[in-house]
Symmetry: C2
């Protein structure tokens, strides 16, 4: 899974003769990944608002992200274009099935990361802030590892 969320970023390697100094990153999330981070943050916030109030209005997102009307509108348009949300003029914002799936995943990730940070002794406020940044970069494997050590303690090996 995760395949359904990938936008853009097709392979297209380029090779340059020179020797292998710095190993090519191969991750290169940079650009398009940043876009989906924003998408994740938005669908998560929309899901939260809907959970809390029944509906989500643009103003909720304005407050949440501390950006302007216009920016929210822009972003929502992109999300709609990408099939994550549905909204009509002057109507509340709702999530598509795809959007809901993404939101659920993001929320779960977020919760695990935050709980894990708390578990290693990070303060509530720092855990809140850091988990928001970190959640987008945590692979499934790492997420599982976090869950595992919280449940079972540190594996003795190592």
């Amino acid at each position: 899974m995760d395949s359904e969320f990938t936008l853009g970023r097709i392979g297209l390697k380029r090779f340059h003769s020179a020797s292998a100094k710095l190993p090519p990153k191969s991750h290169h999330r940079t650009r398009s990944d940043h876009a989906s981070e924003v998408a994740e943050d938005y669908v998560e916030a929309i899901a939260d608002a809907i959970a809390a109030q029944g509906i989500c209005r643009a103003m909720d997102l304005v407050a949440h992200f501390d950006v302007t009307h216009a920016t929210v509108n822009n972003t929502i348009s992109r999300l709609q274009r990408d099939g994550l949300v549905v909204t009509e003029p002057y109507q509340p914002i709702s999530l598509t099935a795809k959007g809901k799936r993404m939101a659920a995943k993001a929320r779960q990730r977020h919760e695990v990361v935050k709980a894990f940070l708390r578990w290693i002794g990070v303060s509530e406020s720092t855990a809140t802030v850091d988990s928001e940044g970190i959640e987008h970069h945590v692979s499934d494997e790492t997420l599982q590892a976090m869950k595992r050590v919280m449940a079972d303690g540190i594996p003795p090996s190592r």
Copy 2:
């Protein structure tokens, strides 16, 4: 002009009628933080190249980030504008004191995060990838917590 009265984007919270649903994020790293993430990645890569080969050429960064010449040039120009690197046409790229400091910090963060991921049982390859994404979002407090638990184990209280 108009500068002293621009209330654009200072505090100016707006609260919208309904109750406090979504807590305002207050972090909102989004844009400008993303720029410094790129800066960190670049200075780190430049420092690596210099450590490995003595000098860093644009092509090293092309290989490392898998972007084009032009993109590297662009980015390097910005870094130079921001006082992180120095370079003259057709000359290798070097770091300023500021750039070196940033690189050292980034590298240290990176190492701690990666070691920590390995410590909780994440595979080498995943730890490599994830730590690159995570490092930019880890606060000092969280970094200390990681170091602490690696040294002392999980604090019992909590």
